[in-house]
Symmetry: C2
Subunit: 319 residues, 2 copies
Amino acid sequence: MKVIVVNDALKQKHIELIEKTAHKVGAQLLITDSEDSIPENFKDAEVMYGFGMKTAAVSKDLKWLCAPSAGVDYLMKPDSFANKECLLTNSSGSYGVSIAEHIIAVSLMMMRRITEFHAETLRGEWGVRRAQKSLKDARVTVLGTGDIGNCFAKRAVSFEPASLVGVSRSGKSSGEFYDRVYKVSDLDSVLPFTDLLVMSLPATAETKGILSRERIGLLPEGAYVVNVGRGSAIDEDALADALDEGRLGGAALDVFVTEPLPKDSRLWKTKNLLITPHVAGNLTIDYTIDRNVEMFCEDLLNYAEGRPLKNLVDRNIGY
Amino acid sequence: MKVIVVNDALKQKHIELIEKTAHKVGAQLLITDSEDSIPENFKDAEVMYGFGMKTAAVSKDLKWLCAPSAGVDYLMKPDSFANKECLLTNSSGSYGVSIAEHIIAVSLMMMRRITEFHAETLRGEWGVRRAQKSLKDARVTVLGTGDIGNCFAKRAVSFEPASLVGVSRSGKSSGEFYDRVYKVSDLDSVLPFTDLLVMSLPATAETKGILSRERIGLLPEGAYVVNVGRGSAIDEDALADALDEGRLGGAALDVFVTEPLPKDSRLWKTKNLLITPHVAGNLTIDYTIDRNVEMFCEDLLNYAEGRPLKNLVDRNIGY
């Protein structure tokens, strides 16, 4: 078995773990920075750990692609895989900690208006005091209760919100910190009681445009929206309207319909919109890359032993 | 008994609670926006709830001043009180939630480099990915384990730090979330094992300059400092040197030796320094003003009944 690892964030300890695991399963291993530098004798590799778009599209020998990302929408096109039987796993479970910290940070930056204080001090101005909001006693709704939503909920509960509810496809979640978990079909009745809406959804047919203009209108005046999943989940133009009109308190977007955000996007100038360049989930954080590599190695053992893969993606739903 | 309340942040429910309590203890009550608008017949008031600097300095009739702030250093001058027997209480216990949120926000803004991403997006730039740090597995030290430190610790523990230790005058704390609480005399041995130092100390003779140039030198390379107590606790020039030299990862200061920060201060241009204009503890947050007013009313009942006041300041130590 030939295994290719394409990852430029690996440290020595990660390389050692991967080498040890490959040795254990008797695999030939290639570790490289880029899909463009795969030598001829590895073009028929059976397993790849990496984004793998180029390889998956052409290799009929690839039997398992392990993506280091949580979202795998970029691999869901009809021609993404030359081998239609190729297994696909994601790395959901490694980004929750990183992204949860980001959500807490940007939520507080908006509610406590640190975005405004920061903009002023960058200009050398001692800002004026202004009314602030708090996570304490806020009504928080988490749309998407996977690893990311659950890691956020664990942290959010320590801030003593008035309520912390989840909304998921099934109406269930493995997360233990929600007061209650609703089905997506109940979303319209949850939004009017939401001061902070946190969205961490994969890009699928079902989630596209889920935060529509109508639903944005259901949020109470002054509510906040954070999106760390995929940009396609929000009607960006409707969100920008609500922000520019001052109906919402603010929004923090780490993901966008088009990334990088185009230079001429109106979002750059939208009022009370905090933009970050898709950096919430970051492999430079020790814990994230550690978990990411560990999860691949666990599944490599599973694969070699013929056991089911833990992070297998269901292509019918897209995550 | 005449009672004056000077507070411009009160909502109707707060006024009602104060009126009800004053009625219960048979007090004549004046509620006003400013010490400058106290009518002649209230100049001999026995109790004031407000910053009270002007009144305390001249009134020989004032027997109890309840300050709405946690820090009362501005009332510690030899001529602060015309009546040397005047009791002084602070409102420590009402700001912890507000300030704890601020600490979490600015810590994550620095560690996750959202300060830099935010500065870039304000300029319309899609920032480049860069190495981030995390509260997860960080070694956190809380210098000052009163209400503010404890409220921070409660939240911080949910981020799964490697360690969370307190440092206090007594080596004890009512906070339950610390792995261990050290005495201030042990500070030098704690600093070398600190990735994030959170300072929430009152301004007293003992805390002045406590984070000296030498102690800043004890922090590991890349450490972060947050100060939400009083500016006097830090050698600002030494901190600016360490930041400009890149020895520290960053610092977030909400308090300064001189406030507002003077236009010609080098801190405005110091590298990786996040400045906020003394806004971490904010009475506009519902919970903070609610607690602040409730605490005064509780102590007003205590005062009227001749019971000890709960938030009495020990003027020998200054808090």
